[in-house]
């Protein structure tokens, strides 16, 4: 069967009508302060920064820039709540507050979805079907743990760590906040969280939810800002634990800067996951998996399947089908329900991606992009693949964090594994084969924390997620995710 005969010509002869999600029900304030003690307050130095819509470059809101004094104020509020109401409360009651957050998020889900897409550029289909419902589900799941921790740590008694400082990235703004806050609260900690500077808005909306759920003041505090604000949290002497999701580069700095302080830390860092396609895989499904693996959320995914390792005998077929499929992907308005790939999150991230495209070509790889038309304003990148790359190429070794896939081939399973494991990262991986025994053989040997077999980019509150090697320390999610927020005593 040639590729031509199986090609789906979605774009020929007819067009998708626009299907924009309405925004008239959305309320975004002109300006947001810092959320401390259940109130929005002015930053000490009175500075604000703008957050924009990356699809239009239009202003959305201005957000407070937290400095050391603000972080101290937030930590003090969190400490007071930790020593007061939050600790004295029955664990089951703590759970009830977290359930309230889950329920209000479910009620306001559409509003959050639209704001997430406006602020971050991701397709509304993804924010509506994945980010927001999963965020609510995380709160729901961990709410239930609050009074059941004895069963998570048999034979030991757990106690909260105290005040937790959390710094999260811009790729899944609300979801990352949920991953961080829900288990921290369930275990009895209080939180100071910094959202990413390009995507603070759903955190500000989450602040409203926390206020409306009537959590005791100080239990959850949001300080907005960039790297300096994050550093201020990390280095604050009264913070007991740091939970960070972001780049390996920053993770390393955090690990160094808290060395010797006794602070606990969990780090969720970069990745360069290999999607390994065997000749006996269901090829069409695998192609869908490859597309989902690298083009989901514009490739702004730490566990993205950014490397494709395809068995040589099916390589031509897979690459040809992949190119066909890429042509059908709709790149454009994140608020259009038909959109597959939205806007790149920021100008600087677009620059990073473009620099890697240049590097890839300079290293001798062959670049192929879909021929889609990009909007005139905003930050966009066509879905891109590199073939003819070698293991030492930078586009194979380094995390690009964009819709860019590096394709290699292998002959034997051993060669595939050797290539899959040959990066400093170890966050995730994918295996595609119709043979069950091979799945377990390969997943056992891939040195990474999450392996998807015949699927990719699946997430669930009950399922732990975390990296090996330079992809991080510790797990989030599931029963194992509780470890990060307790001290085991007795």
């Amino acid at each position: 069967m040639t590729s031509e005969s199986s090609k789906l010509a979605f774009n020929d002869g007819w067009q998708y009508s626009p299907a924009p999600e309405s925004t008239d029900h959305i309320v975004i304030d002109e300006q947001y302060g810092l959320f401390i003690d259940n109130e929005f307050v002015e930053p000490a130095e009175g500075q604000y920064f703008d957050t924009i819509n990356p699809a239009t470059e239009e202003f959305l809101a201005s957000v407070a820039l937290a400095t050391d004094a603000d972080v101290s104020r937030a930590v003090k509020a969190a400490r007071k709540a930790k020593n007061g109401a939050w600790s004295k409360m029955k664990p089951a009651d703590r759970g009830k507050y977290i359930y309230r957050i889950a329920r209000i998020l479910q009620e306001r889900a559409r509003e959050f979805s639209v704001i997430e897409s406006l602020d971050g550029g991701k397709p509304i289909r993804e924010s509506r079907d994945i980010d927001i419902p999963l965020s609510a589900a995380h709160f729901f799941y961990y709410a239930g743990w609050a009074d059941k921790l004895d069963y998570a740590f048999p034979g030991r008694t757990s106690k909260p760590l105290g005040v937790v400082g959390q710094v999260i990235p811009w790729n899944f703004p609300l979801l990352m906040a949920a991953w961080k806050i829900a288990p921290a609260l369930a275990c009895g900690n209080t939180v100071v969280l910094k959202p990413a500077e390009t995507t603070p808005l759903t955190a500000m909306k989450l602040a409203e939810v926390i206020r409306d759920a009537e959590l005791p003041p100080g239990v959850v505090n949001f300080v907005t800002g960039a790297g300096d604000t994050g550093a201020s949290i990390v280095n604050h002497p009264d913070v007991d634990k740091i939970a960070f999701t972001g780049s390996t580069e920053v993770g390393r700095i955090i690990q160094q800067s808290i060395a010797g302080t006794g602070k606990r830390y969990t780090l969720e860092l970069g990745g360069k996951a290999a999607n390994i396609i065997f000749a006996d895989a269901a090829i069409d499904q695998a192609v869908e998996g490859i597309v989902n693996g690298i083009f989901f959320n514009q490739g702004h995914v730490c566990c993205a399947g950014s490397r494709l390792l395809v068995q040589e005998s099916v390589a031509d077929e897979v690459v040809s089908k992949l190119k066909d499929r890429m042509e059908t992907l709709i790149v454009g308005d994140p608020l259009d329900k038909n959109t597959d790939i939205g806007a790149i999150n920021s100008a600087s991230q677009l620059q990073t991606i473009q620099s890697y495209l240049k590097i890839g070509e300079e290293e001798g790889a062959e670049m192929h992009q879909s021929s889609c038309v990009l909007p005139e304003r905003g930050y966009w990148c066509r879905p891109t693949i590199f073939t003819g790359v070698s293991q030492s190429n930078r586009v194979v070794q380094e995390e690009i964090f964009g819709p860019v896939l590096a394709i290699q081939t292998f002959r034997t399973p051993e060669e595939g594994l050797e290539k899959a494991n040959n990066t400093p990262y170890g966050l995730s991986g994918g295996v595609w084969t119709d043979k069950g025994s091979k799945i377990f053989q390969i997943t056992k040997k891939v040195r990474a924390g999450v392996i998807w077999a015949n699927t990719f980019n699946k997430f669930d509150p009950t399922s732990p997620f975390g990296g090996y090697k330079e992809s991080g320390i510790g797990s989030e999610g599931g029963l194992h995710g509780l470890n990060a927020y307790v001290e085991l005593v007795k």
Binding site: A92, Y99, F140, G144, W145, D147, A152, G436, Q441, L479
Partner: protein
């Protein structure tokens, strides 16, 4: 029934019916029994359910089992949480009913609140008990071997006599959160809340047949609860020394799992635990080869 003066409104009394297959029929037998208050006044006439009612309920529970047992843990948790929400909204009604059946206002309030909290407690276990009780088994061969819990099937429950709401809920919740379906015989002396609780279930997205609730005489129905060939497990309370032996020997006809829950103070939080869920679960082990 309360007498009313010329200027007050005549209240409309509620008909207490049974709950089978998501509907509220009267017993097919047409029989009733009166519930009286401390002053020997009739509070309500309740259905005196028959063996046929029980058999109908088992048919409904069996029919509901495939979908309920394969619903996601998240969905089952959401539904149990929803039951708690609905009960919270109707707490005054349940407090009044418990008071009618002899509880002090204070005790009634505590029982209703504990019932709501117990539902939340088990809602939370929906997607966690599996994580606590299942295992990956390190067998000494090249196999991926894992054991998970699966619901046993249809569970018949003789609810505790002395705790009309909390005892009822404490026995239903762990059974259904684990994916089983159920048929319950309510407390004979305190049956009112069971019927009202059926109305709560009915408004909480609980699929028809997952919970069926009968009122009636324990002495008359125990044998049927214990012997029915399409019931997989029986939970009973209030053993007076002889009941357990009778039930255990009757249950042997199809190797029912027999779960006694005697002398448990349901009002104590110490008596809520995930082992109550595990009681009506089977263990399934799967072997899968590892190799090229």
């Amino acid at each position: 029934m309360t007498m009313v003066g010329p200027h007050s409104r005549v209240p409309v009394a509620k008909t207490y019916k049974i709950y089978i297959d998501g509907k509220f029929p009267r017993t097919e037998s047409g029989r009733y029994f009166p519930l009286k208050d401390v002053d020997d006044q009739v509070v309500a006439n309740l259905c005196r359910s028959s063996r046929k009612d029980f058999r109908n309920a088992v048919v409904s529970a069996r029919k509901a089992f495939p979908n309920w047992s394969s619903a996601s843990a998240y969905l089952r948790g959401q539904i149990l949480y929803r039951i708690a929400e609905m009960l919270e909204g109707r707490r005054d009604q349940f407090i009044s009913e418990l008071v009618l059946q002899g509880l002090s206002k204070r005790r009634a309030r505590k029982e209703v609140e504990a019932s709501i909290d117990r539902l939340i407690y088990f809602a939370g276990w929906s997607d966690k008990y599996q994580q606590v009780f299942s295992a990956v088994n390190p067998v000494n061969s090249s196999h991926f071997n894992f054991s998970v819990l699966e619901p046993t099937g249809v569970v018949s429950i003789l609810a505790p006599t002395g705790s009309g709401l909390l005892g009822l809920i404490s026995n239903i919740a762990p059974v259904i959160v684990g994916g089983n379906t159920s048929v319950i015989l309510a407390s004979e002396s305190m049956p009112l809340c069971s019927v009202s609780f059926a109305e709560v279930l009915h408004a909480s997205d609980v699929p028809a047949g997952v919970v069926n609730i009968l009122t009636g005489f324990r002495e008359e129905l125990t044998e049927q609860f214990a012997t029915h060939m399409d019931v997989n497990a029986i939970i009973f309370s209030d053993d007076d020394g002889g009941v357990a032996k009778t039930i255990e020997s009757l249950a042997a006809n199809n190797i029912k799992r027999v779960i006694p829950r005697n002398a448990i103070d349901w009002s104590s939080e110490k008596n809520q635990n995930p082992y109550l869920i595990r009681d009506t679960q089977e263990t399934k082990t799967t072997w899968h080869p590892i190799g090229n």
